[in-house]
């Protein structure tokens, strides 16, 4: 069996540890994601979806349990290695308005490379433009986010998440504030990159219509995984609308 991309076993997360208001948000999560998978993470508000995403995204550490990223136990990594892993191992697509407003579309896409690899090269600049063209923004390369529509901003965010070709992209309600038509476009884009590049996606959503178009659906209720099953109806999802 190949090494899973990520492997969570018995992961718990509590806030306010050691205080009177200590609350456990996640209770013993077991979750494995293989390279190239396309998962939906669904569940009601307050079920711990975002917390789980932050945990997988290495933005916060678990309070208990084990989290292996490509076989490496993350608890044993130092701050520098975690930062590095966040830069090259993971891409983030947030719900909305999470572009850097002072930077143009191209600059936003270049930012992860600037952080991880140092000063921008002509080749990386061209690659960034290429990704933006791939998401359909060839004519908006030097626009500031404020000049872009919500759907266009989200495309920039996707291009940015993919810019260093990470094995896993985490998307938190990527279409949360978009209309139906734009939502379909964005989702088709994610599926396209999944098919073409083999990038694994973990998409948090509460839109059942979107969840049905993922290969596997994980449901989180009150901090526990209540369902984790392949999605038989996703066969047609790979074809863009």
């Amino acid at each position: 069996m190949p090494v899973p991309l990520i492997e969570l076993s018995g992961v718990c997360k509590s806030y306010g540890v050691g205080t009177e208001v200590e609350t456990e948000v996640l209770h013993g999560i077991d979750l494995t994601i293989a390279p190239g998978e396309f998962l939906a993470l669904i569940g009601p508000s307050g079920s711990g979806k975002t917390t789980l995403l932050n945990l997988i995204g290495l933005l916060e550490p678990p309070t208990a349990g084990s989290y292996r990223f490509e076989g490496r136990e993350t608890a044993q990594l130092g701050d520098g290695e975690l930062t590095r892993l966040r830069a090259v191992g993971l891409g983030f697509v947030f719900q909305f308005h999470h572009l850097l407003p002072a930077f143009t579309a191209t600059e936003n896409v270049l930012m992860p490379g600037l952080i991880a690899l140092g000063p921008v090269t002509a080749a990386r600049r061209e690659a960034a433009r290429e990704v933006l063209r791939a998401v359909g923004l060839g004519d908006r390369l030097d626009y500031l986010p404020g000049k872009l529509s919500g759907g266009q901003q989200q495309r920039v965010a996707i291009a940015r998440a993919l810019s260093l070709a990470p094995p896993l992209v985490l998307a938190d309600e990527p279409t949360g504030n978009l209309d139906t038509h734009t939502t379909d476009d964005i989702f088709a884009l994610l599926r396209k990159f999944n098919a073409e590049r083999g990038t694994a996606f973990l998409v948090v959503t509460h839109d059942p219509r979107l969840a049905r178009r993922c290969d596997r659906i994980v449901e989180l209720v009150d901090g526990r995984i209540t369902r984790d099953a392949p999605n038989p109806s996703s066969a047609d999802a790979a074809t863009p609308d």
Binding site: L59, F94, L100, M111
Partner: protein, 407 residues
């Protein structure tokens, strides 16, 4: 460009009004510091030069003559009462080799021998008590720039010629080319020496102008019966405020009576020290205000940029990279402000020199700003900019990215 610099510059650009406000504050702060420093330094040097007039930075005099009692002071049976000796005009022993040695001393810019003594300047019925200074005009000019103080004529002191103070000339009713007599203890009133006035000097102080008579060194040696001798060596040194140290060293070396200008003008020195302390206090307060200004703007900026900081951290920027972004902002603001401040200070100085003039239209005093004032302003600004940014930068680095994004 590196990540930190790219983001720091862009954050500053995005801050527009905030950024210009704080750069403006820093500019004015630095300009005030540079302007005050330059002005105080220049006015102090100017004031000292004026007050000192023809007093040298350091004067070397023969050791005082002391009366030696013939009996031992330790003998308890006798109580000797020793009267201090009257100090007659004497020469410095071996002054020529000493002057050559002083010429080679790197602390000393110029040495001028002097024979000075009292006399009466007489013309007709008018007589005035004066101080006759016998000098070597070339060496003397190197120290006191006396040619700049000429009111009329030229500074020429060949035998039979004298340069006198402007007020003295008026008192005696004489001008260029006129003659007057000098009566000294040696010549007596019976056989006065006659001199032709070749120049009039304005030493900047009425009393000095009333008493000044310059003649040649040899002439003065003859007048005061000091053949081949000098009564004083005057020194100009590289650093005015270093006079005490140099004087102490020379005193130890030569065993002569060496006096620095500070000991002659103690009150002036006290006033100058007070001024220096005031200047330092003003500078310190300006620096504190500027540091607080930069810090407060950056603190606000960190709060405003919480989400961006979170996004950058999620994209793999380390805590220390975020910290450097804000430190850099402090340094950039301070450096820009200090460069603009130096320009502003330079223009203030130009305006000051242009507007504020002596009654005769000449500049009040020369203000020369050392390059190091500008350099230290720039370097100091960067240091204080980093200092100001330290707290906001640490605050930014410690933001929890997960929470920052959720904002």
């Amino acid at each position: 460009m590196h990540f930190e610099l790219v983001v720091a510059l862009r954050f500053l650009r995005e801050g527009r009004f905030q950024t210009w406000l704080i750069i403006g504050g820093t500019t004015i702060g630095v300009a005030v510091v540079v302007f005050i420093t330059a002005l105080v330094a220049a006015s102090q040097v100017n004031m000292i030069r004026r007050v000192l007039g023809t007093t040298a930075h350091i004067s070397i005099l023969p050791p005082e003559e002391v009366a030696r009692p013939q009996r031992s002071a330790a003998d308890p049976t006798v109580l000797p009462r020793v009267q201090a000796r009257a100090q007659r005009l004497r020469s410095i022993d071996q002054w020529q080799p000493l002057m050559e040695a002083l010429d080679r001393n790197p602390d000393i810019l110029a040495v001028s021998p002097l024979v000075a003594g009292p006399a009466f300047a007489v013309r007709g019925d008018a007589s005035r008590s004066v101080t006759v200074s016998g000098i070597d005009p070339v060496r003397f000019n190197r120290i006191f720039a006396i040619t700049d103080k000429l009111a009329a004529g030229e500074f020429r002191v060949a035998p039979g010629e004298a340069v006198i103070g402007a007020v003295l000339a008026a008192d005696l009713g004489i001008g260029l080319g006129d003659r007057f007599n000098l009566i000294t203890e040696r010549t007596g009133s019976a056989a006065p020496d006659a001199f032709t006035v070749t120049g009039l000097v304005d030493l900047g102080a009425r009393e000095a102008n009333r008493r000044a008579v310059y003649v040649g060194l040899r002439t003065a040696q003859a007048l005061f019966d000091l053949p081949g001798g000098v009564s004083e060596l005057d020194l100009k040194i590289t650093d005015l405020f270093d006079a005490d140290r140099v004087a102490t060293a020379l005193r130890a070396q030569t065993g002569l009576d060496v006096q620095a200008w500070m000991s002659t003008f103690e009150q002036l020195m006290t006033a100058i020290n007070a001024q220096t302390i005031t200047n330092r206090a003003i500078r310190a307060f300006v620096v504190i205000v500027v540091v607080l200004g930069i810090a407060s703007v950056l603190v606000v900026s960190v709060v405003q940029k919480r989400r961006e900081i979170g996004i950058l951290r999620a994209m793999g920027a380390s805590r220390s990279a975020i910290q450097r972004v804000f430190l850099l902002q402090g340094a950039i603001v301070a450096l820009t402000g200090s460069l603009l401040g130096c320009l502003l200070a330079a223009s203030w100085i130009a305006v000051f020199l242009h507007l504020i003039r002596n009654p005769d239209g000449t500049p009040l005093f020369p203000v020369e700003v050392d390059a190091w004032v500008y350099i230290s302003a720039a370097v100091g600004a960067v240091v204080f900019g980093l200092l100001a940014a330290a707290v906001p930068a640490r605050h930014a680095a410690e933001l929890d990215p997960a929470q920052a994004i959720r904002m």
